[in-house]
């Protein structure tokens, strides 16, 4: 009996496909997410929109809060660790968190390195903006990837940008010779062995969700239409007027993304979405995606 194998980690991520993973800050919110049909919840201290508004250092959630959320739901509980914060990740692993998100939404802890995720039994999901970043995270042992988007904005353009970039780069890769692939790897900062894997599959070798700025059922459907396996919704649900209704609607939209009739039906009467932010209105150094 072997625990923590790469197949156990990536296989677990395969089970999320077609689903919605929701940010929650309390046990009550976690119950709402589970009841709405979320495939997992992400436990965190503050949703990205509040982190953005309040500033300061954003850290791993309080272990007490994580335990309360674990006790409240039967679905998997994920939690965020700061980029490079090996100790936060170890604490989350010890708490029995099902997946660790090494996340740019929190304040980075290590200016040089990401966590060596091969050293952990708990699986990791990491953000990417393009193929090079995705390949580096996979080389470090990430069992799941999500496009970064720009968290806490309710603005889907960055998520779309990152998914479009990723798709275009994977498409370019498929026609390359080995020599071209090696120099392309150098250009985008990606290990050749990982690029070979991606070339062979014609897609990332791990599950890829969309994140950052998804606020409506239509946003979720859009990301699925672009080829994402599922979506993370952060501030979009619990910063909206009717979280229960919106959560259910986004879950249905994520599965029925290619059925406009269903999308129209579930988009009816949801009340106000979260307030959005134009990306141009955010100073360059406050963008989370560059972390």
């Amino acid at each position: 009996m072997e625990k923590g194998t790469y197949r156990v980690k990536t296989g677990f991520a395969e089970m999320f496909k077609g689903g919605v993973i929701m940010d929650v800050t309390t046990a009550d919110q976690a119950r709402i997410a589970e009841e709405a049909g979320a495939v997992a919840v992400m436990a965190l201290e503050r949703v990205p929109a509040d982190i953005r508004a309040q500033g300061g250092v954003a850290r791993m959630a309080d272990p007490q809060k994580i335990k309360e959320i674990q006790a409240a739901v039967s679905i998997p509980v994920m939690a965020k660790a700061r980029i490079g914060h090996i100790a936060e990740a170890r604490i989350l692993e010890a708490l029995g968190v099902d997946f660790v998100d090494e996340s740019e939404v929190l304040t980075p802890a290590d200016p040089f390195h990401h966590i060596d995720k091969w050293q952990f039994r708990v699986p990791f999901v990491c953000g990417c903006r393009d193929l090079g970043e995705a390949a580096r995270r996979i080389a470090e042992g990430a069992a799941m990837i999500r496009t970064k988007g720009e968290a806490g904005t309710g603005n889907v353009i960055e998520a779309v940008r990152h998914m479009r970039l990723l798709n275009d780069q994977i498409k370019r890769l498929t026609g390359m010779s080995r020599a071209e692939l090696v120099s392309y790897g150098k250009e985008i900062g990606a290990p050749a062995e990982i690029l070979e894997l991606i070339q062979e599959h014609g897609r990332l070798p791990v599950v890829n969700f969309a994140a950052g700025g998804i606020a409506t059922p239509a946003d979720a459907a859009l990301m699925r239409l672009l080829g994402c396996d599922g979506v993370f919704v952060g501030s979009g649900i619990f910063k909206s007027a009717d979280p229960e209704k919106r959560a259910k609607a986004i879950v249905l939209a994520c599965t029925n993304y290619d059925d406009p009739e269903v999308l129209a039906q579930v988009s009816l009467g949801l009340g106000e979405a979260m307030p959005g932010v134009a990306i141009e209105a955010i100073p360059e150094k406050e963008l989370m995606q560059h972390r």
């Binding site: 625990k3 999320f16 496909k17 689903g19 049909g37 495939v39 997992a40 029995g96």
Partner: protein, 194 residues
């Protein structure tokens, strides 16, 4: 012969790939009308609560339950086993409730305790198995047969036209368990046409 794979959520692609390896046509099933003409249906791994919410809201749950009661062969893996089970020992609701077993959800613990192992199966020898936050069978009705064990725990069970596994044969590249199901579908078809 076409075998459907319930496609509301979960590892649908891996099951379709395994069917293709066996030379069987597979078809994702999301809407009730897609049940017509199937020789069998696979209920994949995923989150059982999420899958059930989606099935009830898209109107698939009732017609699927009816088809299963009418003899449509089904194979559930992990969450699929939970969907089929008549009773869930640690959850307040029952889903399709057609297979006479009581299962415990997340019986193998949280993800850190998920594991790979080899299980011994009747007539198949040892097969590689991936257990992910897996359900385990805690009680079996008199007409349920255990086909594979992990130690002394039954992890692959059959009752008539229904087959269920605690593990994920679709993640290993070993198609023997799926082949058992395909044989069940063939047999059921012959019987229906007799």
């Amino acid at each position: 012969m076409t075998v459907g794979v319930l496609a509301v959520q979960g590892d649908v692609r891996e099951h379709l790939r395994t069917l293709a390896r066996l030379g069987v046509a597979g078809c994702p099933v999301l809407r009730p009308e897609q049940l017509a003409g199937l020789a069998g249906i696979i209920l994949p791994g995923g989150e059982s609560t999420a899958m059930w919410r989606l099935m009830t809201q898209t109107g698939l749950a009732a017609p699927l339950r009816e088809a299963l009661a009418g003899g449509l062969p089904a194979f559930g893996t992990c969450a699929g086993m939970i969907l089929l089970a008549r009773r869930i020992t640690n959850w307040g609701e029952t889903f399709l409730g057609v297979l006479d077993v009581a299962v415990e959800r997340n019986a193998t613990g949280r993800q850190a305790d998920s594991f790979e192992a080899r299980v011994s199966a009747n007539g198949l020898g040892e097969i590689p198995a991936v257990f992910i936050r897996a359900p385990l069978v805690r009680q079996m009705g008199p007409t349920v047969k255990a086909l594979a064990w992990l130690g002394d725990v039954p992890v692959l069970v059959q009752e008539g036209h229904l087959l269920a596994a605690s593990f994920h044969p679709e993640l290993t590249g070993d198609a023997r368990v799926h082949d058992v199901f395909i044989q069940m579908c063939r047999k059921e078809r012959r019987w229906q046409h007799a």
